[in-house]
Assembly symmetry: C3
Homo-oligomer: 260 residues x 3
């Protein structure tokens, strides 16, 4: 059975997740393996959902269909997309929720022609009425090309580190995870490029000097910097909550200094 | 594989959900597809669970078995029910959790004869010991008629809009969802009946005038009224939390005025 | 398909659960049924995870593989274990998370030889890089004996009731569940042994006298003591939150008196 993985901001106290799952199963004769990635993206947090799917998509088997429904513009004229990469499919509103995928992968992008759908579509629940059936049909290999139209433009919001001078970068908090780790828009490749210019240099943010390998390399309660599970830089506290301790929020910036 | 969908108020920090799932799989030789609808119904909130199952049951494939365990009366003499509609099965305590189903569907109702179950039944976890095995057996088509007895009565709590005069209704908040949308006991059919009497009339609640189609039809932060995903009236704020802003709680009433 | 059940403290707002599930599916050609037990163990709460798996493992079908990832020591030299009992497999860090399993079951214990894994292993996400693939391979019956080494020692933290005198025990809160029930390190067997010494005796904690069978045996809002779903003693309030009302926390102790 093909895998269909879901990310939403629906929470799990209502029937909305059930409605999407029910609809997915109904449209494919129950011939799909549904996988919950997250239903606890913060309400309307397009960036959080974008980072969530980016964090895990590459671990899934080839052919997995991802449906990402964080959709504050539902019922307006925002477009709905089907995005195909070499290994996966992504179904989502065109609001930036696939920003990292567009950045990282070669993408074939189609917009969904909602007016060609023959069933009833509500004005406020396209997760159930548009994304669920489209994703379900794709996951079972149904031909839906007549419901799609190729497009080349899309919404993206990626922030990038800003070089202030030879030895300083302004970098941004792009995500704060369940443990309070603050993840920054600066990855291992960014650092390797700096190291070529400055062999042997060490990074500094606040008073944290250099990278450690794992949380346990510092005392319990101490700050550290390391590469997160997809090689993005994170500020963390061993068994503590760095976001709470620093007050950092998504979108805040910090200064990364290159110490020779 | 048949689908078995679960709604509980167990939360997801304990082993209770696991115990139910494990038991379901053990009783059917792992031959069932278990679907989480919600485990975050508020503790003991029979009404929230009733609205949750009502919101999504109709999206599921024919034959789906729903097990709804919000069960403050566990271990007392409250009855356990198996309810069959034209397309689905519902297994739940008889405490009102199926109120909307009884209202909407033709139901064959059986009570479970717990004394005919041969395995050990605890006093406080019938989710695992009664509802899970019964639901599992039904989902795989096992004959369990000897464990059931037809009944015609059941517990229901549905509230209804109250007509105060020609142009005013008292309606109640029946659910507040994850986004703070306040859902009322007044549906599209109720409105269509009013429109027959008052062609061209518009509804008003507080200072919100008329229905909009989608959240995006008003500015971000503004109030609106629209039909929710199952055509119940809701008070909402575009990308905001209407419950927090109004202070409305489940059970509160508001006045719906018919403006000619 | 074999069942693979997951317990973590990852929460459900990030991509970490997705990464583990994706990896599990990738390593077994999607030939496994993944079951969420909990992703809301409190951060780093090894004891909570230990109690969670203890609460439900025995309800699962024979052959189920449990993977328990609450892993504050990730990336340090803490060991990773594969534990086999007569019916199940458990994959987890060696930090006490399997304490109850070691206490209750005959266990064959192996440590994982991480240096024999040929794929890349990150320093901070062994849930994805070590536990997921190992669990996946075991669940589909792949021979991985070359990745394991038998061991006889392991970490455990079980607390036990302490007898103060003939008629008093000091017992500890080992878990507080979603409903606020306070579960104690004292089980039905402990009580049966006392009853042999003191026939007809009744227990008392605070001003709660004797066991009741079910919550509904006392008035709504009243305290009670009963056996929880795995026959551990719990202090509860009928439809209320005993932890909040008493202020009890995990690790606190109370006095159990034997009243003749």
């Amino acid at each position: 059975m093909n895998n269909l993985a879901i990310i939403t901001d629906f929470g799990t106290m209502d029937g909305y997740v059930g409605a999407m799952k029910g609809r997915i199963l109904s449209e494919c004769n129950s011939n799909i393996n549904i996988i919950d990635i997250s239903h606890h993206i913060a309400n309307y947090d397009v960036r959080g959902a974008a980072f969530c799917v980016f964090n895990c998509y590459n671990d899934f088997p080839e052919g997995t269909v991802f449906v990402v429904v964080v959709d504050p513009g539902v019922g307006t004229d925002r477009r709905s997309l089907v995005v195909r990469t070499s290994k996966y499919f992504f179904i989502a509103p065109d609001n930036g929720v696939l920003s990292f995928i567009f950045d990282k992968e070669d993408c074939q992008i189609h917009k969904i022609l909602e007016n060609k759908l023959v069933h009833k579509i509500s004005n406020n629940f396209h997760g159930r009425d548009v994304f669920a059936p489209i994703a379900s049909w794709i996951a079972v290999g149904k031909d839906i090309l007549h419901l799609l139209k190729p497009t080349s433009n899309y919404v993206s919001f990626l922030s990038k580190p800003i070089r202030i001078n030879e030895n300083q970068f302004t970098i941004h908090v792009i995500h704060i995870d369940n443990f309070g780790n603050c993840i920054l828009d600066f990855n291992k490749e960014d650092w390797l490029n700096i190291e070529k210019e400055h062999p042997g240099a060490k990074p500094q943010i606040f008073k944290i000097n250099g990278f450690v390998k794992s949380f346990g390399d510092v005392e319990k309660g101490d700050f550290l910097m390391n590469w997160d599970s997809i090689d993005y830089l994170q500020i963390a506290i061993n068994q503590g909550d760095a976001a709470k301790k620093t007050g950092l929020k998504i979108g805040d910036h910090v200064t990364l200094k290159i110490m020779e």
